[in-house]
């Protein structure tokens, strides 16, 4: 059978609305003018550096939230 993946009626994995969180990750990590500054510093780290490092665990948690919302325990 040759069908298109976009064929209507084909069962799809249910995409959680939480996928909007991915957009949050993109905006937060790519908003360069926002984080290209020295202050406020944290433990001696200029904002530019600690902010971007802090984005990493936050992104990890957001991806996990999407995973948990969409995971059906199978596969």
């Amino acid at each position: 059978m040759k069908t298109d993946a976009s064929t209507p009626g084909a069962p799809r994995r249910r995409a959680s609305p939480l996928r909007i969180l991915f957009l949050v990750i993109f905006v937060a990590t790519l908003a360069v003018p926002f984080f290209n500054r020295v202050t406020p510093t944290l433990f001696g780290f200029p904002f530019f550096y600690w902010y971007q490092i802090a984005c990493v665990p936050v992104a990890s948690i957001l991806i996990f939230l999407v995973f948990r919302a969409e995971d059906n325990g199978a596969e």
């Binding site: 084909a10 991915f22 360069v32 500054r37 433990f43 530019f48 550096y49 990493v56 991806i63």
Partner: protein, 508 residues
């Protein structure tokens, strides 16, 4: 032979010897018939969450990264930190796109990305073009792993090219015998050593230098932040963001990362790893700061390191910092971690290229290989890749390898429309995608020659504004737009929709 760092060298060699033994014995792990290419080249698609975490981590965060990113921070400053947003935004992409690759690949027995595209469009020439792009992008990448190893061997004061040649011949040998199981097993050791090194470095070195505040205070203001864009220019802001996003789009299109993904036991493992792999990014971010620590410690002006900086340039900054800050035995551990960090991705790259050569070139254009001979061909091609990279690095100046890897990234991203879009839609036409792949590769290469292969950013002038962009990012957009225009025209003339061997159910 006089060795300036005998203890470090002894620890280093002991670690290397240990992983080599591990590499040879790995073939027996979760043992199966290694005469099948799915077993040799993909580990039987059965690695669970943790092994996949180590394997994909060891695959994407290479020795070259560990040397090059801090070196970039050391030399150029803040811009080098793009590696952090790069290795964050790649994970939503991994989550959204690549579980679909696993599903369709398992259903149809594909072991490479190009095979999927060939099946999807029934077009072996498109598969060939994507496969060849992958192999060409990978060759200089393997060569760069050798540079990472070469730098630490050189830093230990071991002279000549012989040690490097031996290391890579051994690599070729255990890749040949054990296949993907070897780097999978070694990656666990590699990552434990890397994490140990980074954690110790990030505690000990700042303590020696008076804390992070004191380190950052010694960095010239021009290097501490990105420069504020001049009037009518988006300046370093778009340069930085496109570098991060474009690199992220390209990351999982490389043959070696695709192999890492396909070797997992299922889509759930891949999705879960999209949330777990960022742990490596934290480590990379901290490691990147070693570049600033190298500046603050003043290693570049110390007479004992003058020769190293002369030979290896800024790549020597991290090895010099480590030699300066740690006792001999720990230098051995850290250098061992970097060298093993070269062996893991180099092995996966060779295996991935071999899978492509076998499935997308040999079987399609020479003769349809049987299951047994398929594995033989792949094994021999993996040796060819490793020896090719070795010759490459010994014969051609290192700067060319760096430049070719830069261009390789711009080439591999051009496969994004053909691979990533095709999981979601069959709107495109195979021949249109092939033409646009060529358009993207040609344009990107042309733009980078205008930069004399030195920079990966091109300054576009649009409506009176100057917009610097990572060349790969700008050209893949061109590629996708042209593909979207050409595809309906091509499909109207002669549709290739009927040649799709996959079905909608393969993707959900």
């Amino acid at each position: 032979m006089h060795l300036p760092y005998p203890i470090a060298t002894a620890v280093f060699l002991a670690l290397i010897a240990f992983v080599i033994i591990l590499g040879f014995t790995a073939g027996r792990w979760k043992s199966a018939d290694l005469h099948s290419i799915e077993e040799w080249g993909l580990g039987g698609r059965r690695f669970g969450t943790w092994i996949s975490w180590f394997l994909i981590g060891g695959d994407a965060y290479t020795a070259y990264t560990f040397i090059a990113i801090p070196a970039l921070i050391y030399g150029a400053g803040a811009v080098g930190f793009f590696a952090v947003p790069y290795t964050v935004v790649c994970y939503p992409i991994l989550y959204l796109v690549f579980p679909k690759l696993w599903k369709v690949a398992q259903k149809h027995g594909y072991i490479t990305g190009p095979e999927f595209v060939r099946g999807r469009y029934g077009n072996r020439w498109l598969g060939l073009a994507i496969g060849v792009t992958g192999i060409f992008a990978t060759m200089p990448y393997i060569a760069l792993q050798l540079i990472g190893m070469h730098t630490v061997i050189g830093a230990l004061g071991i002279p000549g090219h012989i040690p490097l040649a031996i290391a890579f011949l051994v690599l070729a040998a255990f890749t040949y015998t054990s296949g993907l199981r070897a780097p999978a097993m070694i990656s666990v050791v590699k990552d434990l050593l890397i994490y140990l090194t980074v954690i110790v470095a990030i505690i000990v070195i700042p303590a020696e230098l008076g804390g992070f505040g004191a380190i950052f205070a010694k960095i010239p203001p021009a290097k501490l932040l990105l420069p504020t864009p001049p009037a009518h220019s988006t300046g370093a802001y778009t340069g930085y963001a496109t570098l991060a996003f474009g690199s992220a789009m390209a990351l999982f299109l490389y043959p070696h990362t695709t192999t890492g993904i396909l070797s997992s036991s299922g889509p759930r493992v891949i999705r879960r790893n999209a949330a777990l792999l960022p742990a490596y990014t934290i480590m990379l971010g901290l490691l990147a700061l070693l570049g600033f620590m190298a500046v603050a410690s003043g290693v570049s002006t110390m007479p004992q390191f003058a020769d190293g900086f002369k030979r290896f340039g800024t790549s020597f900054s991290v090895p010099a910092l480590i030699l300066n800050a740690f006792p001999g035995w720990f230098v051995g551990v850290a250098f061992g971690a970097i060298a093993i960090g070269a062996l893991v991705p180099a092995a996966i790259m060779a295996i991935a290229s071999a899978n492509i050569f076998t499935r997308d070139i040999y079987s399609q254009f020479v003769t349809n290989a049987s299951a047994g001979s398929e594995t033989k061909i792949a094994k021999f091609f993996s040796i060819f890749m490793i020896i090719g990279a070795l010759v490459f690095i010994l014969v051609i100046p290192n700067t060319y390898a760096v430049q070719l890897q830069l261009v390789g990234g711009m080439w591999i991203i051009q496969t994004f429309p053909a691979i990533a879009f095709s999981f979601f839609t069959r709107f495109f036409n195979g021949w249109a995608l092939l033409i646009c792949l060529a358009v993207g590769i040609f344009t990107a290469t042309y733009l980078v020659t205008l930069n004399h292969f030195l920079g990966s950013l091109y300054f576009f002038h649009i409506l009176g504004w100057t917009i610097p962009s990572y060349i790969a990012f700008a050209t893949v957009i061109l590629n996708a737009v042209v593909a979207a225009i050409l595809s309906p025209i091509f499909n109207a003339i002669l549709s290739d929709r009927a040649q799709d061997e996959t079905t909608a159910l393969d993707y959900v």
